[in-house]
């Protein structure tokens, strides 16, 4: 049964990858990538990585695909044909890459083999056997993520932070003194014309936000944690933005506040580490936070997960805001230009007469 699912999923993935390579349409390429990501998330579940599956589904299928689609909306879907020479070269390089990897696999332990060093190395036992006792947290991914390799996660949060700042620096809208004239159609967002959709979707937003809080808090027991929660929270806001338009959304949570929240989350995370140092432990040694080391660990993990959640939610929202605002400005400018062109076309025959 497992094998059958495995094979089906792999076949799916292969055909999608092939389709993505041959398609000329950027829109379908983007959608194919979204599906690819979703199916790989399913594969992750088969491979026992539920946390990763959740993240991949939220990030790959959700955020990345949406970002690509927004980008395409302002850049267009046109692709010029590729020259043959380049394709041959690309193929050759890819084949070299593949050949090297296949060579590498020849001495690998087969998939799932219990003799593989990955499973025989003492740390594997540590993570699966000692950690739940030591931490009192059933989900082994969470303490590994937040404590044993908590420093990597700090780095990961820093990367997210960088991305947020970077997107702001690149396409973040400057607080203009003379805002663009707002075209009426865009004032209320695209969903204006779909009242039913709007009414129903509106009901979804609170549960989504609530679910985000649940995922944030439930990371100790099931799949989830700060990152997933942040993405889900941001997707709730994203839905709001889709329904009511980016201008409205920007008024609900102001971009400046988001910018500060981005920084705040990372600071909370790092601050925990500094507090640990002040308490006489190593950086990110949460055991110093309370008398009982296990309590300390729980406090620490909860706090840093909160930091991660804040930064991720704020960054994803900022990114989506920025992309959407950019698209909106783009569309509006184009509309204005068209309208001016139309006005000019109307006036010119009169003046000619």
């Amino acid at each position: 049964m497992g094998v059958a699912i495995d094979i089906i999923l792999l076949l799916f993935l292969l055909s999608i990858a092939f389709a993505a390579c041959v398609t000329r349409n950027l829109f379908s390429a983007a959608m194919l990538f979204g599906i690819f990501s979703l199916i790989s998330a399913t594969l992750f579940v088969v491979l026992d990585a539920v946390d990763v599956a959740m993240t991949e589904a939220a990030v790959g299928t959700g955020v990345s695909t949406i970002l690509i689609l927004i980008t395409l909306a302002s850049t267009g879907y046109r692709v010029s044909p590729r020259p043959a020479g380049r394709q041959v070269l690309a193929l050759a390089v890819s084949v070299v890459l593949g050949a090297t990897m296949v060579y590498g696999t020849l001495d690998m332990p087969s998939l799932g083999s219990p003799d593989a060093p990955v499973h025989t190395h003492p740390i594997a036992q540590y993570y699966t056997e000692v950690s739940p006792v030591e931490m009192g947290i059933p989900n082994m991914v969470t303490p590994l993520l937040a404590s044993y390799r908590g420093y990597d996660t700090l780095g990961e949060t820093a990367v997210v932070f960088t991305a947020g700042i970077g997107v702001l620096a690149l396409i973040g809208r400057r607080r203009r003194k003379d805002p663009l004239p707002i075209v009426e159609e865009f004032r209320e967002g695209g969903a204006n014309r779909h009242r039913v959709l709007r009414v129903i979707s509106k009901q979804l937003i609170p549960p989504i936000l609530l679910y985000a809080c649940y995922v944030q808090a439930h990371g100790d027991f099931g799949p989830g944690g700060g990152f997933q929660a942040g993405v889900i929270f941001a997707s709730g806001l994203m839905l709001f933005m889709l329904l009511f338009g980016v201008e409205h959304a920007r008024r609900i949570i102001r971009p400046v506040v988001l910018e500060k929240l981005i920084a705040l989350g990372l600071l909370i995370y790092g601050g925990v580490g500094l507090v640990n140092i002040l308490q006489g432990g190593a950086f990110l040694d949460y055991r110093t936070l309370a008398h009982d080391p296990q309590h300390g660990l729980h406090y620490g993990i909860l706090t840093i997960e909160l930091g991660v959640g804040i930064t991720v939610a704020a960054v994803i929202t900022t990114i989506i805001y920025s992309f959407a605002s950019h698209l909106r400005d783009h569309v509006m400018q184009r509309t204005l230009r068209l309208r001016q062109g139309a006005d000019a076309a109307q006036t010119s025959p009169e003046s000619g007469a």
Binding site: D6, L14, A17, C21, L26, F33, F36, F44, L47, D48, A49, V50, D51, V52, T55, V59, S64, L67, I68, I70, S74, T75, S80, R82, R86, L89, L91, V93, S94, V95, V102, T105, M108, S110, L111, G112, S113, A116, V118, H119, I123, Y127, T128, N139, M140, V141, L144, L145, V159, V160, A163, G166, V167, I171, F221, F227, I319, S322, F323, H326
Partner: protein
């Protein structure tokens, strides 16, 4: 299963190759990003597969289950996915700016403009 174990790896490799091929051959910048993402996602799949233990289960402690898959690759890939989406977001915003400033997102047309300037 032994045989299938290798097949799995090779399928992952084919996936990586297709992503890498798309990345190399495309001249459209968005398409390059898509290719890169495919490539990276395939690498993630490979990584996760290394942690899989035959007959192991999801690494969440449950009554009555003795063997769990190794959670370490999961953590690594969680980090890598985040890093990946961060790069993607940055790359896409760069594309938006390039579109604004050059009016095109085709590599050749951009290069041609740079040569002229």
């Amino acid at each position: 299963m032994e045989f299938l174990g290798y097949i799995n790896y090779w399928v992952f490799i084919v996936l990586m190759m297709s992503g890498f091929y798309l990345f190399l051959s495309a001249r459209n910048l968005v398409k390059k990003i898509i290719g890169l993402n495919l490539f990276q996602t395939s690498v993630f799949i490979y990584y996760i597969s290394t942690g899989k233990l035959r007959d192991g289960s999801v690494p969440i402690q449950t009554e009555g289950i003795e063997s769990y898959s190794n959670p370490l690759p999961h953590v690594l890939i969680l980090t890598a996915i985040v890093v990946g989406v961060a790069s993607t977001a940055l790359g896409l915003s760069l594309i938006l700016r390039i579109k604004d400033d050059y009016g095109s997102i085709e590599e050749d047309e951009i290069d041609a403009q740079d040569v002229l300037s």
